[in-house]
Amino acid sequence: MTTAVPPFETFYETHRAEVLRFLGRRVGRQQAEDAFQETFLRALRAYPRLEHGEYLRAWVLTIASRIVLDDVRKRRPQGELPELPVEDELAAFEQLAPLTDGLPPNQRAAVVLRYGYDLGYDEIGDALGSTEAAARQAASAGVRRLRKEQQ
């Protein structure tokens, strides 16, 4: 049985304080407020396509991380980095979901955030409520297991 998607109000109330702290650590307080609004607006746009209510904390922190990254890219001088297409918030997860279906939740989340969203282990640690080392361990255990399953 999977968890149902909660009403957005419940999701927002549950995660807003943590998202703001997470953004504050990365971009400073002033910018964090704009990034905060953008994070939850993006989450709201993608919300109807969520199929279950699991990993919502990791999901919203992932969106927040992407906004920070987009922001950094925008700030660099033109031409230094290629313009990346705007990606759908759910696409990476959707592609990896069927492959990682058999993994334990923690390993699965770590693999998806690392290889689907290209997050650093420190960010994954934050997103999963554990440490950088634990995130690294979970991701590599997940990958080992996937390799074994494919053989």
């Binding site: 909660p6 009403p7 957005f8 109330e13 807003r16 407020e33 905060f36 609004q37 709201l44 109807p48």
Partner: protein, 218 residues
């Protein structure tokens, strides 16, 4: 957690979410109306929820199930309903102009609610009369059930539906509220002492001919 969170930032997000049209239901709680706290919900199609003594958690689950998961407290989309309710409670409004959204109701309920919406301020009707108007004179009990499940009481005035003998019968928000609303409407002219015997007969008066031609209704 809630206490330390910046109210300005919070309100800014809620306003932006509503302004971008991203919500399935915007709701808010009016904490102190003359009949207590009310939860009011508005969808893209109109007023979709009005509940007495709201328990937000249960309400939100229900709204999300019926209208979609993007249910968020946001005050701006409710401005018009709030104003009309204020005017109604102050006795300055006899007819609501806000659209209602009863899409999620079964067809029969929608038919009965449409008929109910024509019962005017200061007037009452009976369960039996509404049943007859919607095709089955013997369906008074079914009409009672529809009234009990009315998603937008007050605005769709189920308080104006009484028993054939004039008794108030029942109300989803409790009989005290029904009486209060009927008194506000002017459909009950004066307090009638509750009889000591077991058949409470409320004198419900029709407000015809300027309220003078008062008579037992039923």
């Amino acid at each position: 957690m809630t206490k330390t969170f910046s109210p300005a930032l919070d309100e800014r997000f809620r306003a932006a979410a509503a302004a971008e049209g991203l919500l399935d239901v915007a709701y808010d709680i009016l904490p102190d109306t003359p009949i207590g706290a009310l939860l009011v919900g508005v969808s893209n199609h109109g007023l979709c929820r009005l509940s007495f003594d709201p328990e937000p958690e249960r309400e939100l689950e229900e709204l999300a199930r019926l209208f979609g998961s993007r249910v968020l407290r946001a005050s701006r989309p409710l401005d018009r309903v709030r104003l009309e309710l204020d005017e109604y409670f102050a006795g300055r409004r006899h007819h609501f102009d806000v659209e209602t959204d009863v899409r999620t109701q079964p067809a029969y309920n929608r038919r009965v609610l449409a008929e109910l919406s024509r019962v005017e301020y200061g007037h009452t009707t009976t369960y039996g009369a509404l049943a007859a108007q919607t095709g089955n004179p013997r369906a008074a009990r079914a009409v009672g059930t529809v009234m009990n499940r009315n998603p937008v009481p007050i605005v769709l005035p189920c308080h104006r539906v009484v028993g054939a003998n004039g008794s108030l019968t029942g109300y989803g928000g409790g009989l005290d509220r029904k009486e209060h609303l009927l008194r506000l409407d002017g459909a009950i002219l004066s307090a009638v002492a509750k009889p000591a015997v077991s058949r409470p007969i409320w004198v419900v008066l029709r407000r015809e001919a300027g309220g003078k031609a008062a008579g037992l209704f039923g």
